[in-house]
C-alpha cells in the first residue's frame, strides 16, 4: 500500500468512527449543559442500534434511523424519569440504565433471532456523495461521501452552537446546568428543561446506535455499542462542552481508533492500545487545565430540587 493510499484510508476510517461518537457526544453536550450527566448514554446507543435494526427490518433503513432515535430517546426518558423527575442520583441511575439496556437489548434480540443470534443482514443506509466537495483531495471522500447520519452530525454543530449560546432557550438551559437555584428563581422550569435536554441527548445517542447497525455494520450484535456511550462522555470533556470543540474531539478519538486499523494494515509493529488510551489521557490533561481553562457546568450531576 502506498503511503498516500494508507493516509487516505486512515482519514476515511477516522471520520467514519468519529460520526457515531460525534452524534452521541453532541447530544450529551446539551444534556450536560443542562446539568445532567447521563452515564446511561451507552444504554441509549445500544437501544438505538437495536431499534434501528428492528425498524429497518420492518420498514426500511431510513425508518430504522427514526426508530433508533426513538429507542435511544426512550431509554434516556427512563433515565431522566428517575434521575431528574424523581431526583435519584444521576451517576448510579445512569449505571443502572446502561447495565439494564445491555441486558434487555440482548434479551429482546435473542427472543427475536434465537439464542445464537444468527448473523443478521440488514439493508444499509447508502452514502450520498456531495458533488464537488467530495472531490477535495484526501478530505473530500472522507467527509462528503457519507451516509445521512454524518451530514446530520455536521449540521448539528453550528445549530447547537447557535441554540446554546445565541438563544433564550439555550441560555435557560445553561442556567439550569450552572445554577439551578438561580435559574428557578428566574422562572426557568428546571426539571422540564433537564428532562428535555436528557431525552434529546438520548435521541442523538440513539441515532449514533442506529448508525452503528445501519451504516457502519449492517447488522446487530449484542454489546455492539462497545463503550461508545462512555467514550462520548470523554469526548464532551475533551471538547470542553462546546459543539465545535466536541466535534473536533470526536474526530480526534475517531482518529486514534482508526490508527489501530491503519497500523495493522501497514504491518507496523506499534503498540496501538497506547494510541487508544491517548485520547483519555488527553481528556484528563484537559480537565487538569493543561490546554487552558476547562470546567464542567457548575450544577452537573446535582439533583434539583435538593
Amino acid at each position: 500500500m502506498t503511503d498516500l493510499a494508507a493516509l487516505s484510508s486512515f482519514v476515511v476510517a477516522a471520520v467514519g468512527l468519529a460520526v457515531p461518537l460525534g452524534l452521541a457526544a453532541l447530544g450529551e453536550t446539551v444534556s450536560q449543559r443542562s446539568g445532567v450527566i447521563n452515564i446511561g448514554l451507552e444504554g441509549s446507543v445500544i437501544w438505538g442500534a437495536l431499534g434501528g435494526a428492528l425498524g429497518a427490518l420492518a420498514v426500511g433503513p431510513y425508518w430504522g434511523l427514526a426508530t433508533g432515535v426513538l429507542a435511544g430517546g426512550l431509554a434516556a426518558l427512563v433515565f431522566a424519569g428517575f434521575a431528574v423527575r424523581l431526583g435519584t442520583d444521576q451517576i448510579i441511575t445512569g449505571t443502572a440504565v446502561t447495565i439494564g439496556s445491555l441486558g434487555f437489548t440482548g434479551a429482546v434480540f435473542q427472543s427475536r433471532f434465537g439464542a445464537t443470534g444468527l448473523a443478521l443482514e440488514l439493508q444499509t443506509v447508502p452514502a450520498w456523495e456531495v458533488p464537488l466537495l467530495s472531490r477535495i483531495p484526501l478530505l473530500g471522500p472522507a467527509f462528503f461521501d457519507q451516509a445521512v447520519t454524518a451530514y446530520l452530525a455536521y449540521a448539528m454543530v453550528p445549530l447547537l452552537g447557535w441554540f446554546l449560546f445565541r438563544t433564550r432557550w439555550g441560555l435557560a438551559l445553561r442556567a439550569a446546568g450552572e445554577s439551578p437555584e438561580a435559574a428557578h428563581a428566574a422562572g426557568v422550569p428546571v426539571v422540564r428543561t433537564r428532562m428535555l435536554a436528557a431525552v434529546f441527548g438520548g435521541a442523538m445517542a440513539g441515532l449514533a446506535g442506529a448508525h452503528l447497525s445501519l451504516v457502519h455494520t449492517g447488522t446487530f450484535a449484542e454489546n455492539m455499542s462497545a463503550g461508545k456511550g462512555f467514550i462520548a462522555i470523554a469526548v464532551v470533556v475533551l471538547g470542553r462542552w462546546r459543539p465545535w470543540g466536541v466535534f473536533a474531539a470526536a474526530l480526534f478519538f475517531g482518529g486514534a481508533e482508526a490508527l489501530q486499523f491503519t497500523l495493522q494494515a501497514l504491518d507496523a509493529d506499534l503498540p496501538y492500545p497506547l494510541f487508544l488510551a491517548l485520547p483519555y489521557v488527553l481528556s484528563l490533561a484537559a480537565l487538569a487545565g493543561w490546554f487552558g481553562r476547562s470546567r464542567a457546568p457548575e450544577g452537573l450531576a446535582l439533583p434539583w430540587p435538593r
Binding site: G87, G100, L102, F104, Y280, V281, L284, L287, A296, A301
Partner: protein, 354 residues
C-alpha cells in the same frame, strides 16, 4: 436473613435501610416476573432454575456463587467506602485492572527464591497499584477541584488499554499464541478455603476487610470523619472543625487499594493468569452491590452473595428454563432502580414528617 443484619437491626436507621432494601428486592422480583411473562417465559421456572443454579447443591453454592461473589464483594466494599465519604469513585473497574496487572507482573518477575513471600508481596503490589490509580482523580479533586465522576471514568479506559497493551506486548505469554500472560507460579496461587471446592482464600479476605471497615467506620475517629464528610461536607468542616481533604484522600486511596486487591485476588484464586476482558464489569456492578447494601460494609457481604448468585444461576436459568442469561443484567439494573426509588420515597416521608 444474616448475621450482618441482626447485629445492626437494633439501630433504627439501619432497620429502615434493611426494610427498604428488602422491599426493593421484592419489587424487583415482581417487575422481573412481569417482564419475563411479557417476554413469553415462565417466571416461576426461571426463578427456580436460577435458585437451583446458585444454591441447588453445596458445591453450586460454594464453588460458583461464593467464587463469583468474591470480586463483587471486594469491589463492592471499595465503592461503599468511597460513597460513604461522598467520593463518587466509579473507577473501581480501572483500579481493579491496575491491581491485577501489578500483581501479575510482580508474580511473574519475582525470582523463585521469593516463593514464601510471593503472596504477601503480590497482594501488597496490587493494593498499591489500585491506590496509585485512585490517586490521580484524588489529586485532581483536592488540588484542582475537578469532579471525580468523569476522572475516575476516564481512568477506567486508560487502565483497560494499558492492560491490553501489556498482555499483547511486554507481559504476553512466552508461547505467544493468545493475548494473555504466562501462568503465575504456584507460590502465588491463593490456597483453597474449603477442601474439594473452588472457593479460595480471597473470599475470606473480603469478609475480613468488610469487618475491618465496619469497625473502622463505627469505632475510630477516622471512620467518624468519613461518615461526617459523607453526611455533609460543610457540616463536617464547620462543626467537626476538620478539613475534608485528608478524608477524601483516605477514602480514595483505601477504596482504590481494595478494588486493586479484587483484580489480583481473582487471578491468584481463579484464573491464574491475566488476559483481556478479565472483568465482565465488576467495577460497575459493584455500584449496585454497594447501593443495595446501603453502603454498609457487613451488608455488602450479603449483597455480593446475592449478585454472585444471580451470576451463578444465570447459566442454569438459560439451560433449564430457556431464559437468556442476559436477563440477569436486566435484573441487576432493576435492583438498582428499585433501591433508588425506595430511598426517595423514604426521604420523602421523612421530609413530610418534619
Amino acid at each position: 436473613m444474616s448475621r450482618g443484619f441482626s447485629i445492626t437491626a437494633r439501630l433504627r436507621p439501619e432497620l429502615v435501610a434493611t426494610i427498604t432494601a428488602t422491599v426493593a428486592v421484592i419489587a424487583t422480583l415482581a417487575v422481573a416476573a412481569t417482564l419475563l411473562a411479557l417476554g413469553g417465559h415462565s417466571p416461576g421456572d426461571a426463578f427456580a432454575a436460577l435458585a437451583r443454579g446458585a444454591f441447588g447443591t453445596w458445591d453450586r453454592f460454594v464453588s460458583f456463587t461464593l467464587v463469583r461473589a468474591t470480586p463483587l464483594l471486594l469491589t463492592g466494599l471499595a465503592v461503599a467506602l468511597a460513597f460513604r465519604a461522598r467520593v463518587w469513585n466509579i473507577g473501581a473497574e480501572g483500579q481493579l485492572h491496575a491491581g491485577a496487572l501489578a500483581g501479575v507482573a510482580v508474580a511473574l518477575l519475582l525470582p523463585g527464591a521469593g516463593a514464601v513471600l510471593a503472596l504477601p508481596i503480590t497482594l501488597l503490589a496490587a493494593a498499591a497499584a489500585g491506590a496509585l490509580w485512585a490517586s490521580v482523580p484524588a489529586a485532581m479533586k483536592t488540588e484542582m477541584g475537578v469532579g471525580e465522576v468523569i476522572t475516575t471514568l476516564l481512568m477506567n479506559f486508560v487502565a483497560l488499554f494499558l492492560a491490553q497493551f501489556l498482555v499483547q506486548g511486554p507481559l504476553r505469554e512466552s508461547r505467544g499464541v493468545f493475548n494473555q500472560t504466562d501462568e503465575i507460579p504456584a507460590a502465588a496461587h491463593l490456597p483453597a478455603l474449603l477442601p474439594d471446592t473452588r472457593l479460595h482464600l480471597g473470599f475470606l479476605f473480603g469478609v475480613v476487610i468488610a469487618v475491618t471497615l465496619w469497625l473502622f467506620l463505627t469505632r475510630t475517629p477516622g471512620g467518624f470523619r468519613i461518615r461526617a464528610a459523607g453526611a455533609s461536607v460543610r457540616a463536617a468542616e464547620v462543626s467537626g472543625r476538620f478539613s475534608v481533604t485528608p478524608v477524601i484522600w483516605l477514602s480514595f486511596l483505601a477504596s482504590g487499594a481494595i478494588a486493586g486487591l479484587a483484580g489480583w485476588i481473582q487471578i491468584a484464586g481463579v484464573t491464574h493468569r491475566m488476559y483481556e476482558g478479565l472483568s465482565p464489569g465488576w467495577g460497575y456492578t459493584a455500584i449496585a452491590v454497594a447501593l443495595l447494601a446501603r453502603l454498609h460494609p457487613l451488608a455488602v457481604v450479603v449483597t455480593a452473595i446475592v449478585f454472585g448468585a444471580l451470576s451463578a444461576g444465570g447459566g442454569a436459568m438459560q439451560r433449564e428454563a430457556g431464559v437468556p442469561e442476559v436477563w440477569v443484567r436486566g435484573i441487576e439494573a432493576l435492583v438498582i432502580l428499585a433501591v433508588l426509588t425506595a430511598d426517595r420515597i423514604v426521604q420523602g416521608m421523612a421530609a413530610s414528617r418534619d
